[in-house]
Structure formats: C-alpha cells, structure tokens
Symmetry: C2
Subunit: 351 residues, 2 copies
C-alpha cells in the first residue's frame, strides 16, 4: 500500500496512533510545563514546487508566508510566540541569495512579533525543503481550543476572506483582473504574499473576557469537555485560524465541539473589489475555500462576539451562529439562494 | 554564488546573522521561559539517501536513530525531554509500511525516555524528508554549555567511540569483519542502528555537582563567560555530545571555552573487539572521527571527573586534560607515537 492509495488524511490517521490522543488535533500541540502555563508548538514543512514556487512567490515572500503561517497557528491557540527553529534542506546548486532572501522574509515577519529564530539545521537534499517549528507560551486558562464551542454562540471572522486566493490568481493568470486599478491588484497580491498573523486580536479577546460586565454568567455543565492536553478550558471561546479556508475552520470547530451552525453567506467579509473581478459565486467560493488568509475564526457568546467585532474593526464580522443540531448550513439572509449544507469538499487534498 | 561554492559551514555562517548571537552555537537553543527554567530546543532534518538509506538502515532503525540524535542533543545541554514534533514529507509512491516502521522506531526510542510525539505535519515531496524538533526543560543553573570549560579540567568520554562507524562498515562492506563472532558483529551493528542517548548520565552529574564534598571551591573570576542565552552558568561543567565524532566534540568545546587540551590516544575507550578487525590507526581514526556514537563529552574538574567515571562505569574514561595554551594535542602516554595536533580535518563536510 502506498501513500497515494490512502491520501494525506489516511496517513495522518495512521500516524496519530503514535501520538497521545489528548494532545493532537488543534493548531498547536499544547504541553503543560508548569501548573499555570503550557507550551504551544506547531510545525510546518514546506517543499519547493509544492508549497512555494518562484513562479508566484519569490524567496522573500515564501519566507514571510512560512513564518506567518506558524505564528498564525500560535495565535489560534491564544499563545504568545517565544521563538522558532528552522531546518533547511538545500541542493548544492541552490543560490545562496535565494536562501538569504528566504531568511530575510522570515525574519521580517517574525520581527514584527518580536520572535527570534533560535536555531535549526542545514542539510543537503535534491529538493529545497524548509521545516519551521514555532513555540509559544499560553496560560492554561487562556488556551483556545477547537472543542470548546457551545450552541447559541456567534461565529466571528476577524477579517476578509478570499483575498489571498484572488492574489494567487493574479499571479498565476495574467488575463485575470486586468480591469483592476494598480493599487487594488497590489493589495490582493500582498494579501497572498505577505499575510499577517492575527496575534493583535488576542489582547482584545483577553480584555473582553476579563471584563466582568461583558462576561456571560458561567454555564452549567462546565463549558469545557476538555481542551488540549486534557485540561478543561474555563474560557468561553473556541477557535482556530483560517489557513485551510473559512469553511474548513467552521466545520472543524463545529465537529470538535459537537455543535452545528448556520452561516450567512451575505455576512462573510470579502474584499470590496471582488464585485469587479468575478461572479458572486466565485467570490463566495474563494472566501470559503481559498485558504491562506490567516485570519482567526472565533466562536464565542453573542454579546462578547459583538464587542469583539466592534473592537477589532475593519472587516471583522459575525458570520453565523452555532446550533444544537450538528448540521452546518449555508444560509442567505437576503433570500436569493436556498439553504445548503456547508461542505469540506472544495478543500485541498495533498495526494 | 551557489551553496556548493561555500559549503554547509559557509551557509551556516551566513544564516547565523539572522539569529540572536547569544543563543546559537550549542547542541540546543536555550530560551528562558521563567526566572528559573529554560526551554532547550533542537531540530534535525533527515533526507532519504543522504542521512538514511534502506541499504544500511531500514525505516525502524532510521526512526530510532533520528529520535536518539535529538534526545542526545537535549542530554548534552542537561535538559530533560518534554516532547518532540515530527514533520514528514513523503512521495505518493512511498510505502505506508515504511512510514509506519519509521514511526515505530522513533516511538520505541522515545518511550524509553518517556517522551511523546505531540504533533507535526505531513506533506508531499519527491524526496522522503523528516524534520524532528525535540524540546526539553532545563533549570537555568544546570544548563551545560560548550563555553564553560576551564584549564586544568579533565575530559570525560561517557562510553566507547568508533563502534557506530564499525557497525556501518559491517553493513556497507560484506568483506569486512568476517572473522568476528556473530554476537560481536551484531553488537557493532546495533551500536550503529540503535544508539542510546546518554540521558542516564545527567542524574549522576547533578548528584556529584550537588554533593558538597565533591564540589570544587567556587573559582574567581566567575566560571562562566556567559552560557547559552547570555545566562552565566554557575556549574563547573561543559559539554556536548559526540554525534559528529569525539575529535569534533573536544575541539568545539575547547574553542568555545578558549582553552586547549592534551588528549591521550591510549585512554580513548574503543570496543575491545577492535583489536580483531583492523589496525590501531584505523581504530583511532574511527574513534575520533567516526561519529554517531551519541556519547557525551564532558569537561569538569578532575576530582569530579574521576567520581563521574567511577559512577557511570562501563567504558567511561578520562581521555585528556585541558590546558591554558589553546593548542589541542593528541599525545601517547605509552610513548609509541609522537605528539600531534588534533584536527577537525577528517570531519564530514556536507557539500
């Protein structure tokens, strides 16, 4: 049996039996290091021609994106970045300038979040490959897991979705978006090349949750079924990042929490200029399935969600609400489209 | 300019400018997480055909070796393992059984040291590649750095050297060692395929250092020039592991500490059976430059070194002594060979 016979998900299922079940399954692994704090850890491997390509993204932005993706995983857990390590495989004929540009891009992103590269490895390989591991610290009572959502909560997207996918299309397809202003083209391309991990959202979340007036009364039975590491999370929030798409994030959180949702297609924040570059169907498709926008998708009680959206501003929006029934519906509050089940189908299968 | 023009070391020098200088340069990066404790982190990347090959080492032992190498780096810093993450790149035609065997080997080694795999990544690549990141906890006043040695200290090798290299030769060269008993062949091959990280040595070290009677009086000026992370290490020990060879370890520690050494070639512990399989020159060559024995090379005051060697037992030995002059000599206490400068030359250059 070969990997292609079972796909990435099949292989992952086999490999998960080698890991403690209670630790795996969120954006980061969470390892308790003392009674109050845990270490959040995430690893990404990037392969030349699969995860980056000079055709769409030079080494500087490939490095930026790699760093951003890992910091975004930390943000999704509520963790403050400590450091990253970088393991690098290069060929003898790899240009030194390429490697330096990759590191320049990584450090440019990391420095915005005070995160040093503290070490790594450099080896030889026929295929340029980068593995980044990011470490963060998270207080045990602030760990944001996927499995903590309850019915009747609001679903918040912290910013626009689909911009990264549109930027990729502009890079891949010269015919596309020729009617766009230069500045709008550039902004979509930057959304793809230089995404920002939403670590800035966390202090706002903590402030809202800490504010007595804004806190919902504690629910009974206790909120958490058991967050990462088996430690029940006392906070009224669940979440992950939207690196694999907004639909994926909503579905993963609903499944992990045992709730359903109604997601209103008209409430999903998309770039204003989408109206100029394609059909509403394409815009929705990119917003739900495009991926790599690196926003956070947070589930929390409605009053807090409203406060959060106000405080973050920009395009942050409540896009739906969770339900007791476990179905996940895509609805249309303007009544143009019939309700439909939201699926993972359009997701990305690696093999 | 291409990577092959400057080699692995040249590329590393360029990339180190992207890392904080005070953190890089030991077996692990050391990141303080609270006033008393630090996180020790190490990453290795392994590429099919470069770092492992089914010709000499099936997937089970490739996995074991990968785990052992990372745990050995933690041991070298004085750190207790917390967990590892594993990023894996596989091709569509990679056998699922190969991947499972690799994970079985990794976890078999990790379980001996209570270390879980807490997460990772699985991606597609034409070349099977594995990146392992191991992290451990180390008390700030027990961090073993390379730069802490002083002149007049003893150099301890915690076990035999050259066995792994001999095992590799047996695997590669069917003509070699045909005169050996089956059990001796097997033991050398296992030294190569299933090395043991010397985490067992640490409790002995702490006990000796903690014992009032055995402690040398504090030296003045303070022992440490500044250990990893810029935190001065108050303990009278320096060290690293011998993964890149005994000569490499001795030279690296001497350079980092600004001392020299006299290493007695007759004191270097080698497998007894080396007398049956080659010349004394070859035995010394393998012991000094073979690498991958994953023993610890520890520099400490003579009385403590003697205690340590007694307590560890087996083949542990004092192999030399540090000097104020920064030259590193290979001497012969039996007077057969003239003194020679110990060099890195026979080391391994990746490009």
């Amino acid at each position: 049996m070969q990997v292609k016979d079972i796909g990435e998900q099949g292989l992952l299922r086999i490999l998960q039996k080698f890991c403690p079940a209670e630790i795996v399954g969120d954006d980061c692994a969470v390892v308790p290091t003392n009674p109050n704090q845990s270490l959040a850890i995430t690893t990404d491997m990037l392969v030349d021609g699969v995860h980056f390509s000079d055709r769409t993204t030079g080494p500087y932005y490939a490095g930026w994106r790699a760093a951003a993706a890992n910091l975004s995983d930390l943000a999704a857990m509520g963790a403050t970045p400590l450091a990253v390590t970088v393991a690098l495989a290069v060929a003898g004929d790899t240009a030194v300038e390429w490697v330096e540009e990759f590191y320049r891009g990584m450090t440019a992103c990391l420095q915005e979040y005070d995160t040093p590269i503290v070490g790594g490895d450099v080896v030889r390989s026929p295929v340029v490959t980068v593995a980044i591991t990011a470490f963060g610290q998270v207080e045990c009572d602030r760990t944001i897991s996927r499995s903590n959502a309850r019915s009747g909560w609001a679903i918040v997207a912290t910013g626009v979705h689909g911009a990264s996918r549109a930027g990729l299309e502009l890079l891949l397809n010269p015919e596309f978006g020729q009617n766009l202003e230069k500045v709008d083209r550039a902004s979509l391309i930057l959304a793809h090349q230089r995404p920002k991990p939403r670590l800035d959202v966390l202090p706002v979340v903590w402030e809202i949750l800490a504010s007595e007036g804004a806190m919902e009364p504690p629910l009974s039975p206790p909120l958490a079924k058991g967050g990462p590491g088996g430690v029940p999370s006392p906070i009224a929030i669940a979440g992950m990042d939207s690196s694999d798409g907004l639909a994926d994030a909503i579905i993963q959180i609903c499944r992990a929490s045992g709730v359903g949702a109604k997601v209103d297609r008209t409430k999903i924040p998309i770039p204003d200029i989408f109206s100029e570059i394609g059909s509403p169907e394409q815009a929705l498709d990119w917003a739900l399935y495009g991926g790599e926008d690196f926003e956070l998708v947070l589930f929390l009680p409605i009053t807090n969600a409203q406060l959060l959206v106000e405080r973050i501003g920009n395009a942050a929006a409540i896009v739906g609400i969770t339900t007791e029934s476990i179905d996940i519906w895509l609805t249309d509050s303007t009544g143009v489209y019939p309700d439909a089940i939201l699926k993972l189908d359009r997701g990305f299968q690696h093999f």
